[in-house]
Structures are given as C-alpha cells and as structure tokens.
Symmetry: C2
Subunit: 338 residues, 2 copies
C-alpha cells in the first residue's frame, strides 16, 4: 500500500512552497499559469489526491448535503434522489441519504446523525406522522440551511419545493366530473401532510365548482399501500350504492384497487372511473391504462439540490418564506374515461 501523496511531496519535487501548490491545485487566480501547469502535471504524475478531511477541517465546511426521505424504495423518492445525486455529483457535493420509514421517531434520529455529520445543508421530505418542528431547531440555530420538498412542514418558515397539490387534486377531480361522474370517492394518505391535505382541497374545490355536495364519508384516509388498495376495493363493493369514480392519491394503490375491483366484476372505467397520482411506470402497463397526475420527481430532486447548492455558494439567497412550485400535469388515459 503506497504512501499517500501530499502537497508537500509535490512541493518538494518541484522546489516550490506547499502554499503555492495548494493554490495552484485550487486554481487560484494569483498563480502563474505556467506554475499551475507544472504543478498539475506533477500532481497527475504522482497520483495525488486531495485530502478532503484536511481541507474540510481547515475550511470548516463539509461539502456534504443531508437528505431525509420517508423511504428510499418508492418510485417517486428514488427518482427524486436520482435527480439529486446527478447534480450533487456534478457540483462536487456529497449526499448523505437516510430514510425515516414514515416515523417521526426515526426522523428525529436521522436529524441527529445529520447534525453530527455536520452537513452543510439539509433537504427533508417529512414522515407521515411528523407533527413537530423541534428536531430541526438545531439547524435553524446554527443557520444551517434547511429546505423541505414534496412533504413539507408548513409554518416552518423554511423554503419549500412542491407541486401545486391543490391544482392537481382539482384537475383529477374535475376531469372525473366532466366525464359525468358525481359520486367520487377520494382515497388519500395522512391528512397532516400538505400533499394529501392539498389534494383534498382541490377535490373539494372541483366539487364546489360543479355544485356537487361534499360528503366527508367519501374521503378515506389510509396508508395508500398495496394491501389498502385491495381492502378499499372490497369495502367499495360492499357499499349500499357504488361510487362512480375514484381519485386515489397513489398509483400503486390505485392499480392494486383496480385489479381487485376487476376480480369482483366491476368494469373499469365503465362502472367506476379511476384517477391515480404520480405517473408511476406501472400506470402505463395495466389495463385499462391509468389516468394519473404526472409528478415531476426528477426535476424536483434537481431543483431542490440546485437551490441548496446555490444557496451554499452564496449565488442565491433563499428567502425563508420562498416556495418553488413545479408544474404537474393530468395524464389522460383509459381508466378515467367512461
């Protein structure tokens, strides 16, 4: 195992000071172009690699951004992370990723790890049951930038990257209404979360606009899992009067529900129209193809990380109250057309 090359080795061989080597390697403007070329060539020749720990220790920066997500293995989140990873990599930032597994408790533990890892900034999409901002206070106190994305904490006074969930909920619901549907069941997630609360608001807005009375019994708060999809289907067929449409806040749950409904001899979309959410690849490979809301997951990841990096570099000052809203879009396919 060969000894690690340092700037002193380069300096020694070139009869030059370590300070100059350091500057040259960092492309400092004051250094002579020829000197830089010489130093870079020697660094290459010796197989030099910079020691980030020494550099970070000295600079008091970590170049590391923390990301906390509810789970890694969902289509939306892994796509968001793929987008973040790409940009972070290009910009020379490291990502520390951890998952809360939908539990505030685990999320609190994650924030502690992030804090002691001294991340330069933190990007968070909160768990189902998070109802406190307490665990983020240490970051605020130390002025470590904190940005929420997708599932945000309102009143946190932190920048947020979101889609317009109200509009998306409105689009989904009004599409169903325009198809002549009036008893629309809305299957959603924990209403503590903006993403679900806002979709519900959009659902209500559409009903109001078309003079359809809002019935609270038509909103089912669930965990949106595959199992839930099946249970929902069974519960639906046992209802006195069948709804004529479903607006389900997750494609995976919607697909599971549709499959079970079909097994129970319900015709989709003839008997019941369905609109999902996310534009998960699965939405295109089932029959009937699922009408859904396209969620710009990759873009969200890219924009969230870019905002953070720009802020850290001082290029962009994130206003505490600012929010970036991405465009989402109704993808009309067979399941929502009657």
């Amino acid at each position: 195992m060969g000894k690690e090359i340092t700037i002193y080795d380069i300096a020694g061989q070139l009869q030059i000071s370590p300070a100059t080597v350091s500057r040259a390697l960092n492309d400092h403007p004051a250094i002579n172009v020829k000197t830089k070329a010489l130093i870079n060539a020697k660094a290459e020749e010796l197989g030099y690699r910079s020691n980030k720990f020494a550099s970070n220790l000295r600079k008091q920066k970590t170049n590391t951004i923390g990301v906390i997500v509810p789970r890694l293995n969902s289509y939306i989140m892994s796509t968001v992370l793929a987008g973040m990873e790409k940009i972070a990599n290009e910009e020379g930032f490291n990502l520390i990723i951890s998952q809360s597994l939908e539990s505030q408790k685990k999320e609190i533990a994650n924030t502690k790890t992030m804090f002691s890892s001294r991340v330069d900034g933190l990007l968070v999409s909160v768990a189902f049951d998070t109802d406190s901002f307490e665990h983020f206070q240490p970051f605020i106190k130390r002025k470590i930038p904190l940005i929420f994305f997708d599932r945000i904490l309102e009143n946190s006074n932190c920048p947020a990257i979101v889609i317009d969930n109200i509009k998306a909920g409105y689009d989904a619901t009004s599409h169903l209404i325009k198809q002549g549907r009036h008893t629309i069941l809305h299957i959603t997630g924990n209403l503590k979360r903006n993403v679900y609360a806002d979709r519900l608001k959009g659902y209500q807005q559409a009903l109001t606009e078309y003079n359809i009375p809002y019935n609270q019994d038509f909103v089912w708060e669930t965990d949106l899992s595959l199992e839930t999809g099946k249970e929902v289907a069974q519960r639906i067929v046992s209802l006195k009067t069948l709804p004529d449409a479903l607006f389900i806040a997750s494609d995976l749950c919607a697909v599971s529900c549709i499959t079970t409904l079909k097994e129970l001899n319900i015709n989709i979309p003839k008997d019941i129209s369905v609109v999902g959410f996310n534009n998960d690849p699965v939405s295109q490979v089932i029959a009937p193809k699922l009408t859904t809301i396209h969620y710009p997951a990759k873009e969200m990841g890219e924009i969230a990380i870019k905002s953070m990096i720009n802020h850290l570099k001082g290029n962009l000052d994130l206003d505490a109250a600012s929010a970036i809203t991405l465009h989402s879009e109704l993808m009309i396919r067979e399941s929502g057309i009657s």
Copy 2:
C-alpha cells in the same frame, strides 16, 4: 451562530487535559469511570459534537463506504440501498451513493470520485456494458476492499454477493415446462452480465433436462425496458408460430408485455404463460398476477454492507474468492399456470 464546542472547551472547563477528554469520549478503557461520566455530562451540557474531519484526518480513516449502482430508481436497487442505508446508519458508517446510469463511462467517473473521496470500501453492481476491470485497479492497489453485488465482474477475484441466477432461471423455466409448455421465449438483458448469462444457463439446463431442443432464436437480448415489453409483444404476435410461454428477466418488462399481448387478444396464461423476475410489487397488482422469482433485495443490501463493515472492522476477513449466494424463490401465481 454559536462557536463550535471542541474537546479543548470541555478540557478547559473541567481542568483536565484534552487527551483525557478525547479518550473518555471514545470510551477508552484506561479512563476512570467517574472521569468519563463527568466528561460526558459536560459534553452533553455544552452541546459538543465531535469533528469527524479532524478525527478522520488524524486516524486516516473515512468511515465512509461508496456504493455504485446502475440506477437508483429501480425497485430492486432502491430496496437494496434501503437495506444498506439502514445497517450503515446503525453502525455509524456513511454511504456515498452514485449511479452509473448503465454506462461504463459514467461508472469510471464514479469510481474516480469514490477514490478521491477516499472511501474505506466500495460496493458495486456494474453497468450493462462494463467490460473492463481497469477502473477498479486503484482500489486493489491500495487494498481498499471492493465487493460486487448482484451484477458482478467475474474473474475480478473480488468477493461477490449474488443470488443463484442459474437456479432461478432453471426454476422459472422448469415451472413452465411442467405446465406443458415447450416453446419458451426467453427475454433477457445484456448477456455480458452474470445475472442474465446465468439465468440463460438455467433456462438451457431446464430445456436439456426435459429433452427440449435449445433454439437460439428463442433468446432475445434487450434492455428490458417498458417500451421493450410492448415491442416484444408486437413482435411475438407477428411470429409464424406463437410461443406458448415467456420467461422475462424483469417484472416491469413482463407486465408491459402482458398488457400489450392482452390488447392484441392473446389470453394470458391460456395462450401464453409468463414468468417474470424480481417480485416487484407490480407483479401482484396486475391481472393475471405474475408468476415471478422473488429477489431478496433488502437482504442483499444488508448482507453486502455487513460484510464490508465486518471486513473493515477486522472481524471478518473476506476471502478474495469468496461468494455469498442468497436464496431466491419461485412465486407461483396465475400468469404461469395454464
């Protein structure tokens, strides 16, 4: 922004040496229990957090493990990573994750980043087209442990965590044969990769065992994408004689293919039986439910990272030639039963 607390602050307030504080904080056995308690209490009181950069610089370790995967946003990979993240977190290791996007070129860039980030160890699942071991040599030279998982590089002489793809291919194919199927089309990925080459071997073994001649035209090497699933379906119906079964090396592709075949009035499984691969959640929510091979993704992630951590801690010496094979299992559902 309050000043960061260091061991000197604790030492100063307690009238004790920084060396003792350092030892106490690291639970060094030589330190008096009372002294330790005192120091820990003071550290807690002052909100001390250890500076990993100083510590790593001094110890010449990074406590960081690099992971390179083909892509983040596939069910299998995000689940593998979820498993890794969980264990790494518990054991106090950081993960740097990057994706090759199925390109050797990007994979090479990723290895360079990992190398200059001085990861203590590297975990890799290679891209579709990787055909050189060259970019991993710097790790070998520096004796930085390198472990492959899922898509491994044979002859690399590195430890590998895999499933028995030959057996899985055999199980899938022989199941179809037992259902009376004899013209089984095998849709697979890049045959450079062990996962696909081995599944093909298993397919061939099963044919041989049941005295079915092997026909090379029945093996289609593809990218296993959703689009490919559609194209495959269209190509199948244009064939002079229809195959009576499909063994597709990815559930997502299989589901897409089934849906298109159904649109083309092919009855699944009556006309064509289908077996997929991975046990992706989507396999359970389509009609007919997909017969597939359960892939122990979470376990693979956990075992891969545990092997690495144990090796780094010196608990377990990874034999260069060793391989860990995880159990996979045929999940019999409707699509493969005729």
